[in-house]
Assembly symmetry: C2
Homo-oligomer: 253 residues x 2
């Protein structure tokens, strides 16, 4: 990594089209739409217990999104940036009247048949989930503002995945249908957010090194999402070994 970034300092600036194409190529290669856990989900091959484990663990990620966004907010001296970014916290925490994304994810946890309290206490989540999510908060808190914003660009790819997921969840797991409001909201929010973030990154990546760091930030974020599904697959699909202390699926399925 270091040596390639040193080398890149002497390389020519990417054109805007090349810079943008780089993000899409990374998404195609590394975004978690290709992860075997998602493939099983979309084929209807996950059990209720496996979907419970997914909803429970992913809740921890969801619960840290506003903390991650507040850390990014705290790094900006530009009120215009902060105004735009503040929307993300509102989307997840709600406006005090309607439910935000976190509340909606709790409804998804309940739709799987688990009590919301389990998610609220992070009870039984995989340590690997915790470490990956902490790494995300750490990344946006300690890397450059540009890298922090660029790491959000997985949202460029989420609309397509969520559209497919909603369709397949309704088809294969109809008992889960009451819990899909989170995804409905994200179909509108994610493209709004990624459009702003992408334009901001294009405007603020002034050197080839910065362009490469922005691409590396998206790669790092893809790794964080991928690692969460690896851990779920290992613990609950194959070989199916939850670590000591983690959520144990009921015997029924």
């Amino acid at each position: 990594m270091t040596s390639s970034l040193h080398a890149s300092a002497e390389m020519p600036l990417l054109t805007e089209a090349e810079f943008l194409a780089g993000f899409y190529a990374i998404g195609e290669e590394r975004y978690h739409h290709k992860h075997p856990f998602h493939l099983l989900m979309h084929e209807g091959k996950l059990t209720r217990c496996q979907l419970q484990a997914w909803a429970l663990n992913r809740y921890y990620y969801q619960s840290r999104i506003p903390i991650k966004d507040a850390a990014i907010l705290a790094r900006s001296e530009d009120p215009v940036f902060r105004l735009a970014w503040r929307k993300r916290i509102l989307d997840h925490d709600g406006d005090g009247t309607g439910p935000g994304g976190i509340e909606k994810w709790l409804c998804l946890v309940e739709a799987t048949g688990l009590p919301r309290d389990l998610a609220l206490r992070s009870a039984g989540i995989l340590p690997a989930t915790r470490y990956a999510v902490q790494a995300y908060v750490e990344f946006v808190s300690t890397r450059s503002h540009l890298e922090a914003v660029a790491s959000s660009l997985t949202e460029l790819f989420s609309k397509k995945l969520i559209t497919l997921r909603m369709d397949r969840l309704r088809q294969h797991y109809p008992w889960l249908s009451s819990g899909l409001d989170y995804f409905t909201g994200r179909l509108r929010q994610a493209p709004e957010d990624s459009e702003f973030a992408l334009a901001w990154v294009v405007k603020h990546a002034h050197t080839r090194t910065e362009q490469d760091l922005a691409h590396a930030a998206l790669r790092a974020k893809c790794d964080i999402l991928w690692a969460q599904l690896d851990a779920l697959y290992f613990a609950y699909v194959n070989p199916g070994w939850p670590p000591p202390g983690a959520f144990q699926p009921a015997k029924e399925s």
Copy 2:
């Protein structure tokens, strides 16, 4: 976790014997001597490539040990504590004349047939390794001094594991024998270190809540070690899916 700690504030102080027994019970249940990756290693069932992946990923952990210990050192206002703890940094970084633990682990990496440069650059390590190790450094940097010291107590159990491992590595993988100096050193160092740390924790855990936090810290550290082996097993044993960008085993074994 939170609710059990609240409840424990009203519970009686553990006797020293009960407090000590708690650490040993946690080790028996959660220490990574029981992890299936280690069981395969000790049965001689790992391929050279799987041992390469282990040595490479574990190097990242080793390389962060002195950083972790320096973070603990930085938290103490007691020169006697710092003098005792400083030994750990010396053990890993060396004294400038003989090799320290990190250099010895690089020899182990080379004995597996990988270039040391790969380890030094952290090239191809699993993101999950990075996250777990970062979580360890974060833990000792942000939790109480007592919890930071207690998290080192996995060393209570390492002598027995290392003794077994050296025996089995020599038996099943004789081509690795030139790389075992790290473990020889740890046979002496780990008991010295854990003896000091355990006495210190016993002396400084004044309340039941502190006793419970010390036990929880050891559990948290066991989780960190376990998660690293889960990730190795998933990527390189079963199902054997290294994530995008990670070390890919050669085809030969």
